[in-house]
């Protein structure tokens, strides 16, 4: 189980591949891998966005994410999990977040991955500030509920 908060841009697919190989995950136990990747859009709330700065609370961020991983492991049969989240300056199309869950069966993989992502959205202390094409800046006020359909 690994949680990483990084200022470096990352290729989520490469990270998954590297992690699987390093942890020797594909040794016959894994029947289901569920992956969520969040990438940056170039629009939000009716405005064009050119960049974003992600602030966080170092220490608490990792603690909250590790708590969420532990909670997921209590509820589902999870073989391994990888969470990576960017901080600092981010540009459209770059990956913001990766959550990957390896399990024997798809139910555990799907549900644990969804749980981890929703817990991250509501509990991990990250804050986004958008830089608009108009050169204005604004803080994103709150995350939407992931279980309600997007507007």
């Amino acid at each position: 189980m690994t949680v990483i908060v990084t200022e470096q841009s990352f290729d989520p697919w490469q990270e998954i591949q590297n992690y699987q190989n390093a942890a020797n995950l594909l040794d016959g136990q894994v029947g289901a891998t569920d992956v969520f990747i969040g990438t940056m859009r170039d629009f939000n709330d009716g405005s064009e966005v050119q960049a974003m700065t992600l602030e966080h609370y170092p220490g608490m961020t990792e603690k909250q994410l590790e708590n969420s991983v532990a909670e997921a492991r209590q509820q589902w049969q999870v073989l391994d999990a990888l969470v990576i989240h960017r901080v600092g300056d981010i540009f459209p199309n770059e990956a913001i977040v990766l959550v990957a869950v390896w399990a024997a069966h798809r139910g555990d993989a799907f549900d644990a991955c969804r749980y981890l992502m929703e817990a991250l959205k509501t509990k991990a202390p990250f804050w986004k500030k958008e830089r608009l094409i108009s050169a204005d800046s604004r803080w994103v006020k709150e995350n939407t509920d992931g279980y309600k359909s997007a507007k």
Binding site: E55, H56, H85, I96, M117, F126, W127, K128, E142
Partner: protein
């Protein structure tokens, strides 16, 4: 006792500082920590608080050496 206070994101910007150190006797709750550090300011609506990097409520007790954080709703992911 000594309490380290931290502020983040839009709250940090509006206060113009990221932290305070509060030296005081008789502090009791997170709410009182805010009031002593920011006597002219009412607590913003929907503020989140943490004690030693765990979520807490405004009525929770603080102890000497605690780190108390105030921040707006989180927007990661």
């Amino acid at each position: 006792m000594s309490i380290k206070i931290r502020y983040f994101a839009s709250l940090k910007e509006s206060l113009g500082r990221s932290e305070d150190t509060l030296l005081a006797d008789g502090l009791a709750s997170v709410r009182e920590v805010w009031q002593q550090a920011n006597p002219e300011l009412v607590l913003p609506d929907r503020i989140l608080v943490a004690i030693n990097q765990d979520y807490a409520s405004l009525n929770d007790q603080v102890n000497d050496g605690d780190e108390v954080a105030f921040f707006p709703p989180v927007t990661g992911g």
